[in-house]
Amino acid sequence: MSCESSFEAVPMKSPACNISQHNVSRRRILGTTAGAASGLGLGALGGLVQPAIGEELKKQEKQVLLLWLDGGMSQLESWDPKPNTQFGGPYRSIPTSLPGVHISELMPRTAAMMHHLAVVRSMETVDNSHSSGVPRMLRGDPTNRGVVYPFWGSAVAKLMGATASGLPPYVWVKPGNGGFISKYAGFLGAKYGALALGDGKPPTNLVRPDDLAERDAKERRKLQQLFNQRYAVGRRKQWNEANSYVYDVADTLMKHTRLFDESLLPGKDRERYGRHDFGRHTLLARNLLESGVRFVQVTSYGWDTHGDNFNAHSSRVPKVDQTFAALLQDLIDRSMMDNVLVVMMAEFGRTPRINGSVGRDHWPNAWSMAMTGSGIRTGQVLGETSPDGTEVTSHPLDIGHMFHTWYTALGLESQHAEFVNDGQPLPIANDEMAPVKELLS
């Protein structure tokens, strides 16, 4: 079944411990205030970053694009092929623009642009279930301090804020329903949740209806602000702030309704990216980045190929190949590579062994991911797996290393920067890990 349902619909599925439950009491043990429940609502507006960091970064306008292949793309049918071996599958490998480096024949367009990428073939992570793998990958596996850490998009939204565009800093383009999804913001609170564009469409009710005149809409908001200001006098600030904030975001979004209109995009671009969901959503992501959104995540669901893995990848990977190559070309052509960090990954790869359903199962043991753009040293493959693909043989890396690397690539001091939540300092990445120097330019 879909990995979307396996993760989204049952986020607290046992037997995985639910981290937030683990943690509230842990925080007492760590000697901080127990009062305000972590991650619940208004801890929200209290989660601060050391102020200096935010200011510094605002100037740089670095951005992030995360292409998330939910369910787990097979490394063997993409970045790390093992052709003609017991577990290698039916496909051939092809040479790439990087001498000596081969990838799966399912990715010919990307192969030609391999010198623009850094590929890690030695991811060795811990979770082999979606329900724990997805959140750990997207939180960067920070050291447990008894709080629920935000997903990466929320973290970047907090650490770097909106760009000068004023657009919401964290936009998530996904199939299915959209909305304002706050449940992954962790201790940062609802404010740092994602604006999710379901199937790339604008949020419901974004467009002012024709029979509501613009002047009336403005007057309404002005009057509302007036009443809110009066109410706020002499009361706790948070609730009024939270209530006003969502209207501010709504206002900003309304100024950019054209962004969501697919029909305004050049037909040529739509052809190049592909008219399938991943192509359409990634093209929208390119536009969002160009318009100044700080962090865009594009999710493609359905990579959990427990059955018929090979035809599934034959159907899927070429689509991603087409879209990814078109995106890379555009980022190069538009000189966006210096500013935009691009990462393509999933919660894990897929087992070497092929099951009876001709599928591959979940595999955190030795898998691959790709990255490029801002701060990344491209034109390399880092790490190695054994000839049959069953284990990492050099440069084992965990997601914590990658978060350090990416934060560093964005200009943050990943080993020193901290969130501050209810007075508790919280390092932005795993304490026991460090940036991977080889990956940094």
């Binding site: 419901t204 009710n205 467009v207 009057l223 809110n228 009066r230 609730w239």
Partner: protein, 568 residues
């Protein structure tokens, strides 16, 4: 022309929706408080709160209008109508607050409010069922003691027509959610612990809890085995469960130590109970029958044991959990937070108060109405939510200043309907289109008859409720909510002038002064301040949009203001 107007006026007179609460004599509940020496419970609560906040400046007693709105939202699940507000304002008797509390608790809105509150609390928006709604409504109409309500849920009785819907709590959690997802029995186990004992044992499923020494793996496994033994019944149409035969202890081992352990069923806060052994031919009261698709009725029912061990005055966790949740509902914060993490290392902010409340609640036969009445009578409850002049924000745990509370999607629906005059408008529509002789309906009846009202109710629930399985504890406004209020058809419909609704009524008023007073009274249940009056007058006089649009704009702004959107 003449006659049309005449007809409308007649209709208007009959359109008054039945909202009014009949204020009856104070202290309509026979249960009196405990011995005079110790004082009334509400006084003792205040003393305990005061004792822990001696260095803080307390907010003043809330103004009548603030108290009025708060107590209506809490006990009737809606704001007061303009008439009700006027009536309270004109009441000059010194005990009018007490009288109002009693009237609300005895009124027709209270069971509905409690049904909605407990539905959201217990089901966490997993879906609804008319049998379940019926059960909750009956329970609160009859003011069933909480331990009986809990017992009906824990060990549902399919033969009891009024209460059998309680099984929905379990059946809805035992539904398969997809081909790959196993039936979430651990989730049901967890929720029973969380919602009835205030302990979230989830993290003790595979090993003893890493950080909460009170929660052992046996606690989880012993409770889990009770629900592993439960099946949804297929032989009846309504939600119902059956139990399988339980004859053996459950084996489990920690993922860390791999030592095999055994347990009998465990009641949270009540310990292990024995598995009763019967001779083979004595094991069943009713044998399983494959043809009738029945699983039989074993003589030994672990659910019965669980129910009597958990829903009991002797079970501290059970007593503390419910008073903590009711306290949270009234005061905006739990004495223990998170609400489902009671344990030694996470004590209550006011342990002696939690003990007092749970003991007294048990002593008063788990009478929810009685406890809510006592809480509503406290000074703590009746304090203002505005900070005292010049005072810094006191800690939330001090209750020195009353805490703002989230308005649930349900409270919002009834309140919006009242504020905008939507119920009156719909009543008139029914009279003019369906049945001119139709008598006044309650708001609830109107929702059943009007598709647009039902649609609005559903929209508000999906926009302002949390996603399924997320407890609703904090105020979390969303962009989706803002956009809904700004642009949705539903909200625009509320503001289009239609006979009976607020904007229509405002448009018929002669002076701006009247407009402002009516608007504030209908929506915010109070009079405008001088400054607000000036603001609005300025707007009405300077704006060059059509007056009817001005009125809609004003109504929108008051309706979407923070003041309206929170319970303060």
């Amino acid at each position: 022309m003449q006659s049309t107007i005449h007809l409308n006026k007649t209709a208007m007179c009959r359109s008054k929706v039945v909202l009014a609460i009949c204020v009856v004599a104070a202290n309509s509940f026979p249960v009196s408080s405990v011995g005079a020496a110790e004082g009334e419970l509400h006084d003792r609560v205040d003393k305990l709160i005061d004792a822990r906040a001696t260095d803080l400046t307390f907010a003043e007693n809330a103004a009548d209008v603030d108290f009025l709105r708060r107590v209506y939202l809490d006990l009737a699940g809606r704001i007061p109508s303009a008439d009700e507000a006027r009536q309270f304002r004109s009441d000059t008797t010194p005990v009018k607050r007490t009288a109002l509390i009693d009237a609300l608790l005895a009124g027709p809105d209270y069971p509905r409010r409690m049904q909605e509150l407990f539905h959201v609390t217990l089901m966490e928006r997993r879906g609804d069922h008319e049998e379940w709604t019926g059960f909750l409504r009956t329970a609160f109409e009859q003011n069933l003691p909480w331990h009986q309500v809990a017992a009906a849920i824990l060990k549902p009785d399919a033969d009891h027509e009024d209460l059998r819907g309680a099984a929905f709590f379990q059946t809805q959690r035992l539904v398969k959610e997809g081909a790959m997802a196993p039936i979430d029995v651990p989730g049901l186990t967890r929720d029973v612990g969380r919602l009835f004992a205030g302990v979230d044992l989830q993290c003790a499923q595979c090993h003893d809890h890493l950080t909460v020494s009170d929660y052992s793996q046996q606690d989880f496994q012993g409770l889990h085995m009770v629900f592993e033994n439960v099946d949804i019944r297929r032989d009846v149409k309504f939600p119902a469960i059956g139990e399988k035969l339980m004859t053996e202890q459950k084996e489990f081992s920690s993922v860390f130590e791999h030592v095999k352990l055994k347990t009998s069923p465990v009641v949270p806060g009540g310990g292990e109970f024995e598995i009763a052994a019967f001779e083979k031919e004595q094991q069943y009261i009713e044998l399983p029958d494959r043809k009738k698709r029945t699983t039989g009725v074993p003589r030994f029912s672990p659910l019965s044991e669980l129910s009597s061990g958990l829903a009991s005055p002797d079970n501290k966790l059970f007593c503390r959990n419910i008073v903590n949740r009711l306290w949270f509902m009234m005061m905006g914060r739990g004495l223990v937070e998170p609400l489902d993490l009671h344990h030694t290392d996470n004590p209550a902010t006011h342990p002696e108060l939690l003990d007092l409340l749970s003991q007294e609640f048990a002593r008063h036969d788990f009478n929810i109405r009685w406890l809510l009445r006592e809480l509503a009578l406290t000074k703590t409850y009746q304090r203002s939510s505005a900070l005292p002049d010049g005072a810094a924000e006191p800690p939330r745990t001090s209750y020195a200043v009353s805490l703002e509370k989230r308005i649930s999607a349900e409270q919002l629906f009834w309140s919006v309907g009242i504020a905008c005059g939507e119920f009156e408008a719909v009543q008139l529509e029914i009279q003019s289109t369906v049945d001119a002789t139709a008598g006044p309906r309650t708001a609830e009846q109107l929702v059943k008859e009007s598709e647009t009202l039902a649609a609005l109710q559903k929209q508000l629930a999906s926009t302002f409720g949390n996603p399924p399985k997320e407890p609703e504890v904090d105020f979390t406004p969303t962009v989706a909510g803002a956009l809904f209020l700004m642009h949705s058809d539903d909200v625009r419909r509320l503001l289009n002038p239609r006979p009976g609704n607020l904007v229509h009524r405002l448009s018929g008023l002669e002076s701006d002064e009247e407009v402002i007073n009516e608007l504030f009274l209908c929506v915010l249940s109070r009079n405008p301040s001088l400054a607000e009056k000036a603001d609005v007058l300025k707007y009405l006089q300077s704006s060059d949009v059509r007056r009817i649009d001005c009125l809609a704009n004003l109504t929108w702004a008051v309706l979407t203001s923070t003041e309206f959107m929170v319970n303060h």
